[in-house]
């Protein structure tokens, strides 16, 4: 099986740390070179933090595993430098279809809003994501990625952590100021620390079958069947991936025997019953899985941080695993950088857990609700589920109740202690705690998008109507913000090009279609403060440096 992809093998290379008399100390060690560990490393490298990444294996993910990458994930990958490559290789889809028995119940569009660079979702096998991340790590530099290096022991004190690493050439020890555990659902670091991830185990089994087919058979859409005629009483999901590979996901129920179900001779008839006799296909990869929804109480333990599946796990419905893991690292990287540089207090790092626990709870809630709709837990739940589906054919209200997995949206940190409360009235979605929306802009004649320009440092957006809003005093204020201990780089957002010399740390973005202004509910003089992870942390109707400085102090736990 698996013919469409050749697995790279990465060399184990002996590190000079293995020959050191005393354990060598590094600023940051990341455990796990899956998508989350590598995203963590790339993000830190972009902040000029040297990172050592340890992985017990020497290749990428076996099997397609995480498949759906949502818009926010792609935007984070844009910042890390691999977004375009993912989109080029992946299958872009926005259309979802819901079937009940034999009938199409309704069709939905995941991204009804125009003017965003990235689509609602792309589908791509996880091994491609990991391969591109490894390539990017080598291209970027500053990351020491060590394969076949398994952490067997970890201990910490107030100043950092010490790890014991097992390699094909024996064990060695290393120290670090901060350790980030991205070692997956069965995190060894978590158990070494005596910590648990707690929650609900679902009594259900699912079969994933990746099949290769002629692309003319099915369009690039997400098709979900409730109680399909070819797989009675259960559910089935069809998704297209790259290389003409389709993911088919069959609900098997709890009584299914995973070993039996994994055999090709049992999978092929199921797929055949679904696709019909005339469709040719080849089985590429299969797996039977169960899932849990759980999380750790706190994603931080002293100098050790947990991210991705190590910290929290969700059911696959709604694509919130890899998508939320990348939001963890997006949240942690800039905070760690500021604390390591002595520009923010250690307590800023506690807000990583606060904000991401909140997000994990939201993700667990959403994916649990989807799971309960897809696999009703008692007879009357099933009656309501089927009644909803039956009404959904003709009545739009019922379509809103159908839940085959909600769009994976990033958490809005509404209650975060890092937000500055509004003093003026705003409408729309760009409230403090929200990740920035996107919109087309041009800079010096170059067409692009707003998010291309935001991130890795604090940013300001000052909305102006023209030259008359730009007094020397305003420019001096923006310049002062750029010179501050924690610099804030500003963009003037205007409907047209303004020819005026701008000081360092101030650039002009032309809001070509007026969409930025609209999405930020801006009027002339409106100023937004965005964190290095592109989340809004404060906004005001008139630029006031005292308020901006206070907002940055608040956003950095000072």
């Amino acid at each position: 099986m698996l013919n469409t992809y050749t697995f790279p093998e990465y060399d184990y290379i002996r590190s000079k740390d293995q020959d050191a008399a005393e354990p060598v100390r590094h600023p940051v060690i990341v455990v796990g070179a899956g998508p989350i560990g590598m995203a963590m490393a790339l993000d830190l490298a972009l902040h000029d933090v040297p990172v050592v990444v340890l992985d017990d294996n020497n290749t990428v993910s076996v099997g397609s595993r995480a498949v759906c990458y949502a818009k926010r994930f792609l935007e984070i990958m844009d910042r890390l430098g691999i977004g375009q490559r993912l989109v080029d290789k992946g299958v872009t889809w926005n259309i979802g279809k819901v079937f009940f028995d034999r009938d199409l119940v309704y069709t939905f569009n995941m991204l009804p809003e125009e003017h965003h660079r990235r689509p609602g979702f792309i589908n791509l096998q996880q091994y491609y994501l990991e391969e591109y991340m490894v390539d990017r790590i080598h291209e970027l530099g500053g990351i020491d990625l060590r394969w076949k290096s398994k952490v067997t022991q970890v201990e910490q004190d107030e100043t950092g952590a010490t790890v014991t690493v097992e390699t094909p050439e024996g064990s060695y020890r290393m120290q670090c100021d901060y350790l980030i555990a991205c070692d997956g659902a069965n995190s060894q670091i978590r158990s070494q620390c005596g910590l648990e991830s707690k929650g609900q185990i679902f009594k259900d089994r699912f079969l994933i079958a990746d099949v290769v087919m002629d692309p003319s058979n099915f369009p690039p859409e997400r098709w979900f069947w409730f109680n399909p005629h070819f797989h009675e009483g259960q559910s089935t999901l069809l998704h297209r991936q790259a290389d003409n590979v389709w993911r088919i996901d069959f609900d098997l129920g709890w009584d299914a025997d995973p070993e039996e179900e994994k055999k090709p001779e049992n999978i092929i008839p199921r797929v055949r019953a679904f696709l019909g006799d005339e469709v040719e296909f080849e089985l590429e990869w299969a797996s039977v899985y169960t899932f849990t929804c759980r999380r750790m109480d706190n994603f931080r333990l002293g100098r050790i941080f947990f991210a991705g599946d190590a910290a929290h796990q969700v059911s696959p419905f709604g694509a919130r695993g890899a998508n939320s893991g990348a939001q963890d690292t997006d949240n942690l990287a800039w905070k760690l950088k500021l604390v390591m540089d002595g520009r923010a207090p250690d307590s800023l790092l506690d807000t990583y857990s606060d904000e991401r626990v909140y997000a994990a709870d939201e993700n667990i809630l959403n994916s649990t609700r989807s799971t309960d709709f897809i696999t009703p837990k008692n007879e009357i739940s099933r009656v309501f589920r089927d009644a909803t589906l039956s009404l959904a054919r003709d009545y739009p209200f019922a379509r809103r109740l159908v839940n085959s997995g909600r769009l994976s949206l990033p958490a809005v940190y509404t209650h975060s202690s890092l937000n500055t409360l509004d003093q003026e009235t705003f409408v729309g979605n760009m409230l403090p705690g929200a990740p920035s929306t996107d919109a087309p802009v041009s800079k010096a004649g170059q067409e692009g998008y707003l998010l291309d320009h935001l991130g890795n440092q604090f940013n300001g957006l000052l909305f102006i109507e023209g030259k008359r809003d730009l007094s020397q005093a305003v420019l001096d204020q923006l310049s002062a913000l750029y010179q501050a201990k924690i610099p804030l780089k500003s963009y003037l957002v205007c409907s047209h090009q303004v020819d005026l010399p701008l000081p360092d740390g101030v650039e002009l973005l032309v809001d070509t279609l007026g969409v930025v202004k609209e999405r930020f509910d801006a009027t002339a003089g409106t100023f937004y403060v965005l964190r290095p992870d592109q989340h809004v942390c404060a906004r005001m109707r008139q630029l006031d440096n005292n308020r901006v400085a206070a907002a940055i102090r608040k956003a950095t736990a000072q």
């Binding site: 009357i380 009656v383 309501f384 089927d386 009644a387 909803t388 039956s390 009404l391 009545y395 209200f397 019922a398 109740l401």
Partner: protein, 67 residues
């Protein structure tokens, strides 16, 4: 905030009651359950006020017969 109406609100209560029981007259328990579920969904959407619905659910749950 709207409160759940628990005072008489149907103009012709006997007509309503007859129509409801007629609806179920020749149905199996499974079909009745299906109709009830559809009715609840339709009516809840019509009411649209989560607080009113929560109040109704709370009252409906009171004094359940022992399982």
């Amino acid at each position: 905030m709207t409160k759940l109406i628990t005072d008489p609100n149907l103009l012709q209560p006997d007509d309503f009651y007859q129509e409801l029981t007629d609806l179920h007259r020749d149905l199996t328990p499974e079909q009745s359950a299906e109709i009830n579920a559809k009715l609840i969904l339709l009516l809840c959407n019509h009411i649209g006020d989560q607080a009113v619905l929560s109040e109704a659910m709370l009252i409906a749950k009171k004094n359940l017969k022992a399982a």
